[in-house]
């Protein structure tokens, strides 16, 4: 089996290219414009666009998960719900506190919060896009009918969100699944490859979860420190304008310096968020999807083994043998089908993961270097001026 060279970019195949060309934030909804370019005969046109909302992405994802045919594939993880609550709250608080700060402070803070809002917006667009691209790149999933409807049908899909009852059903399904998963995982696999993958994924998933949480905390502290530098810069500016002695020049220059360095610090935090935190979050979700695949295979294995036992029993009793035979065959086929595709999927997962980490770690290091050099240059030039003055 040749490992498919799945490019991280997921945009190479000309037969089907999907992207999100536009997005609109409306109160508590985000409307994504899904744009498709395809040479495939299934579609009426070669290029077309539709507007979709988050719920419709979830619907598509869930339809994959529930489709038995796809049991042997890693289902691309669903994008997380767009969450502007925190950002909106901050903007509201700012509006309420407008009277208590100077005009400059208010404008500055407003700009920052708007930038933050924009960043969250861009992120959610990216995550929805990645989901679609993963599907489009998958040799089997890309042919899915629901996927084509999603891409082409230019009316509302009328996908209502799950009502309370359905949500409760989901909840119980998950509980059962987890319990079952533990049972299934306990069954030792004959196949070394899958046994190794099972152990590996379990540990890996937990560690990615931990790393993701810790990286988030680290980045938050970084942002707080940048905010402090912002306030320091403002106060230094006031001091500089008030002071009648020599040192006022110092205050003004340093205030200017800190304005610039704190923008860089904020960028550092933002880049770390994009290249590190988001990477970890994504592989947290993907490794869960891989675990789900292993679970499905494990389930099929257990079913197969049970069917074998049932067959033996039937043969011994000479009762319902045919039925048992068919049942066993079905289970066997199902298991073998899943195993075959699962192996390839897991190999691809590793390839994708390694490529993604490589790309992001390289970009992270390059950006950190760029920002540190920028900071250094600003600091040194300011020091030069100040030292020359004394």
């Amino acid at each position: 089996m040749m490992p498919r060279a799945v490019n991280v970019d997921l945009q190479t195949d000309a037969t089907l290219q999907v992207d999100i060309s536009d997005a609109l934030s409306e109160r508590d909804k985000v409307k994504f414009t899904v744009h498709t370019k395809s040479t495939l005969p299934n579609f009426k046109q070669n290029e077309f666009s539709v507007v979709r909302q988050h719920e419709e992405f979830i619907w598509l994802h869930d339809s994959f998960v529930e489709n038995e045919e796809y049991a042997g594939y890693i289902i691309p993880p669903a994008p997380p719900r767009p969450d502007f609550d925190a950002s909106r709250e901050k903007l509201q608080k700012l509006g309420e506190g407008e009277g208590s700060m100077t005009k400059e402070e208010f404008t500055k803070m407003k700009q920052e919060l708007e930038a933050e809002y924009l960043a969250i917006f861009k992120k959610t667009v990216a995550m929805h896009e990645v989901f679609l691209c993963r599907v489009a790149a998958h040799p089997v999933l890309r042919k899915d009918l629901n996927f084509h409807v999603f891409l082409e049908y230019n009316q509302d899909l009328s996908v209502r969100g799950k009502n309370k009852r359905e949500k409760m059903e989901d909840f119980f399904k998950n509980v059962v699944k987890s319990a079952d998963g533990v049972l299934v995982a306990g069954v030792k696999d004959v196949d070394d490859f899958f046994e190794h993958e099972k152990t590996f994924l379990l540990e890996y998933h937990n560690r990615v979860k931990d790393a993701s949480a810790k990286s988030d905390r680290m980045i938050r502290s970084h942002k707080s420190a940048a905010d402090d530098i912002n306030r320091i810069a403002s106060t230094l500016y006031t001091l500089g304008t008030q002071d009648s002695t020599d040192v006022c020049k110092f205050f003004l220059k340093v205030s200017e310096l800190f304005e610039k360095t704190r923008k860089i610090e904020a960028r550092v935090a933002a880049d770390e968020d994009l290249k590190l935190a988001d990477l970890l979050k994504y592989y947290l979700r993907e490794s869960q999807a891989a675990k789900d695949l292993l679970y499905r295979r494990g389930r099929a294995l257990v079913d197969y083994e049970n069917a074998n036992k049932a067959l033996d029993k039937a043969r011994a009793k000479n009762k319902d043998v045919l039925q048992a035979e068919t049942s066993q065959q079905v289970c066997c086929q199902k298991f073998e089908k899943i195993s075959e595709s699962a192996k390839q999927e897991l190999i691809d997962f590793k390839t994708r993961r390694v490529a993604a980490f490589r790309k992001n770690l390289v970009e992270l290091a390059e950006l950190e270097l760029k920002h540190a050099k920028g900071n250094l240059q600003l600091l040194q030039s300011c020091l030069g001026v100040l030292k020359g003055d004394t």
Binding site: R207, M218, V354, R358, L383
Partner: protein
């Protein structure tokens, strides 16, 4: 306002608030007689300063120092003082009363008073003491080190080693080491404040007490926070002593010299918060605050008005800045902790990664983050000791400056009160002239005349004190501003240099990591 001098009205002698003036006089009555000083008259309610002075009584009095009345001196050294550490000091040192410093245009405030001729020869002003260092340049370095816990339980205390290295001749030796405890420092400050604050000198404030911090140390909690507390205090004590000796007058104060040199120091009990003296201190502070509100001074000197406002603004902004920097220190420490935590997590992730090259790269990432964590720690340390502590020191110093301005107000108020009293006595005297009681008249007239003339003397003194304190404050403020400019410039540069270092290290670390990341295949 001193310029608005009326002929002294008649009045009776009375007891107004001579308290502080009296204390100051006690100290400065030297062997040389001065013609101006009224004798210390009535007993005062014992105030804290008086108490402290009595504790200090074994120390040598200030070397022939007294207030000088020489009008030439008044503004000669007003502002353009040469800085203490500059070598140009040498040629300026002279025995005469007017050093060769460019005079600042004096304000219209004072009309030159008639001087007293002969007295000049023997009296040297505090101004001259400042200039004349017996030929010394300012060369002194004080280090506070080796904090050691002495004793056990709640009576335990921290002892510090104080090492003074100097070539100045006012000290006995070139290098002296003594052991002092925190209350000794507070005691020193208390003495200096009582001697110098009310005549307008900005006495650097001592580091603050901390009941929480000290209790932890006493109880023997050997953790990071109590070690940090001790280090913070040690550093603050060192800065306090250096600031004190940088003041040309305070440097020569016998209490300061004794503090630095003598091996045993009488224990300063009156510094304890809950002692009788402590409570008295609090009461006095409250009384002062009330008085401040009731004194409405006619400020005729725009300089003081302006400076007062400037210091108010500076105070406000420095406090704000201090708060922001403290927040930065806190967040950087947090960042350091979180980075270390992430580093460990990344290492674990690298361990479980089964692709060899990626695993190695993740371990490298963990190492980089660990180094960066230490970098953040160092930077937080610099943030604190360079920037934050300086700001804290200056917030306290400005409180001292403001109190000196308040003292001036008090001096003015005292003078005005005395004048009022004199006025009343004159009126009574005038009334007596026209009274019709011949037998008692002469006796009464004589009495009143005596009281009135004493009062006249006091009014004159009050005016002089006011002029003197105003002059001193101008000088002090100028010196303070110079120091402030120097301090801030130096600290800002040092702080920026620490930031430069951090960035340089960051570049090194990420440059080392980049090829590792690229090597993932």
């Amino acid at each position: 306002m001193a310029a608005e001098m009326e002929p002294p009205p008649l009045g009776n002698a009375g007891e107004t608030d001579f308290r502080e003036l009296e204390d100051g006089e006690d100290l400065f009555v030297s062997t040389v007689t001065t013609l101006e000083y009224p004798e210390p008259s009535s007993p005062e309610p014992a105030s804290l300063p008086a108490e402290d002075i009595s504790i200090n009584s074994n120390g040598p009095k200030q070397k022939d120092v007294s207030f000088d009345d020489d009008p030439e001196d008044l503004f000669a050294e007003a502002t353009e003082e040469v800085s203490l550490d500059s070598p140009e000091r040498e040629p300026i040192l002279s025995d005469g009363p007017s050093p060769a410093i460019t005079p600042v245009t004096p304000t219209t405030m004072l009309t030159p008073r008639m001087d007293l001729g002969a007295a000049d020869m023997f009296e040297r002003s505090l101004d001259e003491i400042e200039e004349d260092n017996n030929g010394d340049t300012f060369d002194i370095h004080i280090a506070v080190s080796d904090p050691e816990k002495v004793g056990d339980g709640m009576n335990a205390y921290m002892g510090y080693k104080v090492t003074t290295k100097t070539s100045m001749t006012i000290f006995n030796k070139n290098e002296t080491t003594v052991r002092r405890r925190f209350s000794d420092f507070l005691g020193l400050h208390s003495k200096l404040a009582s001697k110098y604050l009310h005549i307008g000198y900005i006495v650097p404030p001592a580091p603050e007490k901390s009941i929480v911090g000290m209790t932890k140390v006493k109880v023997g909690k050997e953790d990071l926070s109590s070690a940090e507390f001790v280090e913070k205090r040690r550093s603050a004590l060192e800065r306090y002593l250096m600031r004190t000796v940088k003041h040309p007058v305070l440097l020569k104060d016998p209490d300061v010299i004794m503090f630095l040199e003598s091996s045993e120091l009488p224990r300063a009990v009156s510094t304890q918060a809950l002692s009788g003296a402590g409570i008295l201190r609090m009461v006095n502070k409250a009384a002062d605050a009330v008085n401040k509100m009731t004194i409405k001074m006619n400020e005729s000197d725009a300089w003081f008005e302006e400076k007062h406002q400037q210091f108010e603004n500076l105070d406000l902004q420095l406090r704000k800045l201090h708060a922001s920097v403290e927040s930065l220190v806190c967040h950087r420490k947090e960042l350091s902790v979180n980075t270390a935590s992430f580093a460990k997590s990344a290492a674990m992730l690298g361990n479980s990664e089964d692709h060899t090259a990626l695993s190695r790269a993740l371990s490298q990432l963990a190492e980089v983050e660990e180094k960066i964590d230490r970098l953040h720690q160092d930077q937080a340390y610099a943030d604190f000791y360079l920037f934050s502590e300086l700001l804290g020191d200056y917030v306290r110093l400005i409180t001292a400056v403001k109190s000196v301005f308040d003292q001036r107000m008090k001096t003015w108020s005292k003078w005005q009160d005395t004048q009022l009293l004199l006025q009343k006595k004159r009126e009574s005297e005038a009334k007596l002239q026209f009274a019709n009681k011949p037998d008692k008249l002469q006796q009464a007239k004589d009495e009143i005349k005596e009281v009135r003339s004493t009062l006249e003397g006091k009014v004159e003194q009050g005016e002089k004190d006011f002029e003197l304190i105003s002059k001193t404050i101008r000088k002090e403020v100028s010196r303070f501003e110079k120091e402030r400019v120097k301090d801030f410039k130096a600290v800002i540069i040092k702080y920026l240099e620490s930031l430069v270092q951090t960035q340089q290290q960051l570049i090194k670390y990420w440059e080392a990591f980049l090829p590792e990341a690229k090597a993932i295949a």
